[in-house]
Symmetry: C2
Subunit: 221 residues, 2 copies
Amino acid sequence: MTLRGRKKGETVPQGVVVRLPVYFRYLAELEAAGAERISSAQLGEALDFTAAQIRSDLSYFGSFGQQGYGYNVTDLLDQVKQILGITRDYSIVLVGAGNLGKAIGSYEWFRDEGFQIKAIFDIDPHLIGNYHVGCIIRPLDELTAYLAENPTDIGIIATPKDAGQSVCDLLVEGGVGSIWNFSPTHLNVPDEVIVEDMHLTDSLLRLVFRLNEQNLGQEQA
Amino acid sequence: MTLRGRKKGETVPQGVVVRLPVYFRYLAELEAAGAERISSAQLGEALDFTAAQIRSDLSYFGSFGQQGYGYNVTDLLDQVKQILGITRDYSIVLVGAGNLGKAIGSYEWFRDEGFQIKAIFDIDPHLIGNYHVGCIIRPLDELTAYLAENPTDIGIIATPKDAGQSVCDLLVEGGVGSIWNFSPTHLNVPDEVIVEDMHLTDSLLRLVFRLNEQNLGQEQA
């Protein structure tokens, strides 16, 4: 993998990392709609970023825009994909096959972009042996043996809160270096393990906080 | 609602807003485990924040810690709840009763904290008329009439991408001021409407980006 214009090992600011998926989604939509080019001003208007911010973000990885022409949508999308690293396959296991696990497994975009779940685990005897998105649901106590045979990039934890840490420990011991955590608990992992949290709770609490803050502002006005 | 020590209308920095739910979850766990007090140093160690950051965050809303004693867990949790605004009920509607909508509706914490979904809507004739978490699933074309009769704080969008914006428009026209968006699309709303996005896509892309960045670093080392 080469990152045009980007020095290997250079750390990308968190703010840029957070915005990259937004570019990706929007550019993919543009390409699907047949758009051929876009200016940084148009991108900015669509995404609520300033044109200067967009030029700065994209130039971080190298300069692709042309004065008076803007960006070629397909080229820019390819570059964003390469920067994000979605140019290769990732092996994924999912632990937890309840409503949330099933939703993650069958998320439309997930399949479209080639992220394939290779194995699903649960402890519920009513779920074990059933199929979801083409995978048989296996008992959790087979996870360690599975990981020993099948090196895995990403482990998804979609268990209740109480099981989150113990499942995480099994994944980490099995050599999984990246955890996508949907269980509403703070996971303790070794420094080299990446955790990306999807706390539904936190997101709802942020929404409620902003809602109240707005109401306070209105009372004051 | 009063915010002890906090000036009305004063805007809280985004960084503090993002950390508040983390405090909330951890303090709720501590209280459930019977802990009576905690120091800022202990909080910091548990949550990977510096003690100084924690003191700064909490003092933003008023000072509750006592030298040599730390914080009373229950008092601190009550304060965090009050700051977050989870001291009253919120009326919620859910649009989209597929796997993801069902998962959100039955999310354990959601029910435990008193967030109740009052009505569920979908367009799928196979789902309409079924019950989920005690609500009948109604046809989407009844949403506007429902909102006219039932003022609603929060609308949850758990539809496929293509339906996200049109459902959002119906909610906003119906007076819903806060949108919790799970559909993988960028929503256009009036300035006064709050949108909190839960893009599974973006979260996974951030994870993959960090995974690749780590691999690049290792290749270089």
